[in-house]
Symmetry: C2
């Protein structure tokens, strides 16, 4: 069990999945948060650049977050917190019924400059569908607890 900053290593990998993204959830997420035609239904998506019903990129991000919590990132006692995202892309769309998995790799670790009991982790997470296509790449920074002041 990874509980503290001291337990983390650059290059460590974490995996979880799959989570299936249903047509119904694509549309209900779109209706609530991203009511653009390509997220609302097959008929509505005709004539858009997507040309088919696809999930909002923010839906893909939210499902990826669930995969991270499910095991695709270190648990860090449930006390880690996101500090920001330095890049986020959706190279391929998520379609109804896609089964998504995520794999993360720790890129960098350092102590917080302002608080020696907090550690800073840079991590890249790649989300793929059941065909092995990449649907999201995100590189983010998280802050979490250290066991002792280093």
């Amino acid at each position: 069990m990874i509980d503290y900053f001291e337990d983390l290593q650059v290059g460590q990998r974490f995996r979880a999945g799959p989570i299936v993204v249903t047509r119904e959830r694509i549309i209900s997420f779109g209706e609530e948060f991203d009511p653009q035609p390509m997220h609302l239904g097959e008929a509505q998506s005709e004539g858009t650049l997507a040309g088919e019903l696809i999930a909002s990129g923010w839906h893909t991000s939210a499902v990826t977050m669930r995969l991270l919590v499910n095991g695709a990132m270190p648990r860090w006692q449930g006390k880690g917190i996101g500090a920001g995202v330095e890049s986020l892309s959706w190279p391929n769309p998520v379609r109804p019924g896609d089964a998504l998995s995520a794999e993360s790799e720790i890129l960098e670790l350092r102590r917080s400059k302002s608080n020696p009991l907090r550690g800073v982790m840079r991590i890249r997470s790649v989300t793929t569908n059941q065909h092995g296509q990449t649907v999201q790449i995100v590189t983010a920074t998280m802050i979490g607890p250290c066991r002792t002041a280093g």
Copy 2:
């Protein structure tokens, strides 16, 4: 009505809001997508770095997307599509009952290199709460239709 790439200008601004983020939706979003203690309830958040119930950053992103569709970005006939995010940060947390608004500014415009009937827009969107505090800053690239090949 802004329908095409040719109607956009660097420096144009777009605003929408507010949308209220309820305690119930913070928790239900957390339960579905980001079940870390600080997103699940007041009691659960004790002892976390947040120390209180706060929205998942991805919930803030999703609400911001809704603000963008509501008017805080150019409509682009509903045919624009996100191409990626180059930075995303959550400088302050979103708390139960917060009323969020967003304002965007077009940073850059260019024709697509591969398709002269598509335009590329870089846009920065700042989301604020009812106290004027910034809760999210996102800089993203979108692709949308041109009226004529330039």
